[in-house]
Symmetry: C2
Subunit: 336 residues, 2 copies
């Protein structure tokens, strides 16, 4: 296979991490970079990433020009969690007939929150013979695709519970702030009301994806309010100190209900000082399946990996909007 030509769309926190990994990857060449930021505009990508040497790729605010000049095989899209926000960006890319792998959380299973936009994206992609995938490790893998894959060994399933516990101290500083670590309970609740703390986006998408794959018609998805986790003793990360009684992070639960019962329960928590970091899946059925990844998969490293690992699968998939459960397993390359 000849070299895959990739354009980055979004060179923010996650986009930069992806870019750095791509630059080390064989068989892929970064041929362009788009970002809305005025600060980055016109600068060499290497300068923005604080790497050297210069890459000869200028960050541009004009997606159309970059797409026209570089004719990429794939756009790596990393700008926002919400499909409504990114729809115009995706449209431009698709109109140029270019495949997309996006970190947009809602795009991992867009039929739940944005069924109309999902239809439009699918039609646009098919018309322009391009494929679109939203992925990441969560949503996109740990709390949905991996659950679907594990279900293969079951003759019967009654109930599913998935738990992800993250020690936020192992994550980027912005992530630690995003979950309210170090705030008083009062400040946390204020930030929550002001939508400065939004919590994890994707639990409902993950539940919908599992239900769809397993042919389960849900009555509804109940999203419990985001809860602060209160430190029982002082704890700290490299960037934040949390006193006893302050908030160390948050917990969120969402439940897919069917026929008056809890069918699919997802529990997510991220806080500084979490002791038993894990990604755990319990399936109650025939047989019961109790699976555990310890410690949990690091969100930044894992998301960068899965986005880049998905590229060949997206390029070879038939045109249209796809989700992870529609594709053969995305996998790493193991070179020596």
């Amino acid at each position: 296979m000849s070299e895959t030509r990739a354009v980055l769309f979004g060179v923010g926190a996650v986009g930069s991490l992806i870019a750095k990994h791509l630059l080390k990857k064989k068989g892929i060449r970064v041929v362009g970079a788009v970002d809305a930021s005025e600060e980055m505009a016109g600068r060499d990508l290497a300068e923005v990433l604080e790497t050297s040497p210069s890459l000869g790729v200028q960050v541009s605010r004009n997606a159309e020009t970059v797409l026209k000049l570089t004719e990429p095989d794939i756009v790596i899209h990393a700008t926002s969690s919400y499909l409504h926000d990114v729809f115009p960006q995706l449209s431009v890319i698709l109109e140029h007939g270019v495949n997309i792998v996006s970190t947009c959380e809602e795009l991992s299973y867009p039929y739940y929150s944005e069924p109309q936009l999902a239809k439009k994206i699918d039609a646009l992609a098919k018309r322009n013979e391009a494929t679109v995938l939203g992925t990441g490790i969560n949503p996109g893998f740990l709390m949905d695709t991996l659950v679907i894959a594990l279900s293969a060994v079951c003759q019967k399933i009654e109930e599913i519970e998935v738990v992800r516990v993250i020690n936020a101290a192992t994550r980027r500083a912005p992530f630690q702030r995003k979950i309210g670590a170090g705030l008083s309970v009062k400040a946390f609740e204020k930030a929550l009301r002001a939508k400065q703390i939004t919590g994890h986006v994707g639990l409902a998408e993950s539940i919908s994806s599992i239900a769809s794959a397993l042919g389960l018609k849900l009555d509804h998805i109940h999203r419990q309010p985001i809860d602060p986790i209160i430190a029982q003793r002082p704890t700290s990360s490299e960037v934040i100190h949390v006193e006893t009684g302050q908030v160390s992070g948050l917990r969120q639960t969402a439940i897919g209900r069917c026929a008056g019962k809890d069918a699919i329960t997802l529990r997510f928590s991220a806080y500084i000082g979490a002791e038993e970091e894990r990604d755990a899946i319990s399936i109650k059925g025939l047989p019961n399946v109790t699976q555990r990844i310890t410690p949990c998969v690091n969100g930044d490293i894992g998301t960068v990996a899965i986005i880049v690992n998905a590229i060949p699968k997206v390029i070879s998939a038939p045109p249209g909007l796809v989700t992870m459960k529609d594709l053969p397993p995305v996998s790493a390359t193991m070179g020596l």
Copy 2:
């Protein structure tokens, strides 16, 4: 979707278990059954399965007639572990243009042991517009497809180790005998030489499948000799008693080597009295991934499940020979 019409090819130990599960399954109808056994010939399938009421499906020795009369959407094939033995059976089915899900271990990744037959099967399937898959939980899922799926979260992989430990007391009596439980060490070694004990078939197929998915070119696969596990204290299952010093089961290891290093190591053991039953995957890379299913997935229940769960994916796949890593994740149906 209208009802899927299934024909059973092989109504032995595993075939019967699959049949019983299929009969309870909505959306699938068993319309025919083929078996080489003279004893079964002409008897109603229900009688052979020791269920009631009568099913109006006679077990036949003549595959051609059954396929012609029943026009199935899928054949569930469960006769032998070796592709060379089953090739004539698969050919007949494919010549009738019928899709196949098979328990044949070597068919899970036939390019390793039978590359020529694999080519022939693929051509035959394409010519007759049918799809062929060999699967099961091992080989087919626990020590290969699940490893490939988990690799998605890794930016880099150096080494993979997969361990499956089975307490044979939880399995069928023939399985317990097949692993030599209750024999003296001398009798075990004699049975091994006489090929009465063949051990688990599939480790090399699983390694090859992982290497292929991860783009790793192996130098060779080293299969260690099958080792007896000697009971350190008396132990027993419902059907076999093992004295101290007798064989309680066996262990097998296979290693995929690359550039002078162990890249992919698979360790399989099955014995009466195994305390820590598990399916464990360790990936050394960025990040490290340590995953564990406890207890291990029951082989009989799991294989029946995955064979039946694979049916819709095989029916909707493009024609040809496929392996699990080429298909979207096989998943259970979760109905209430």
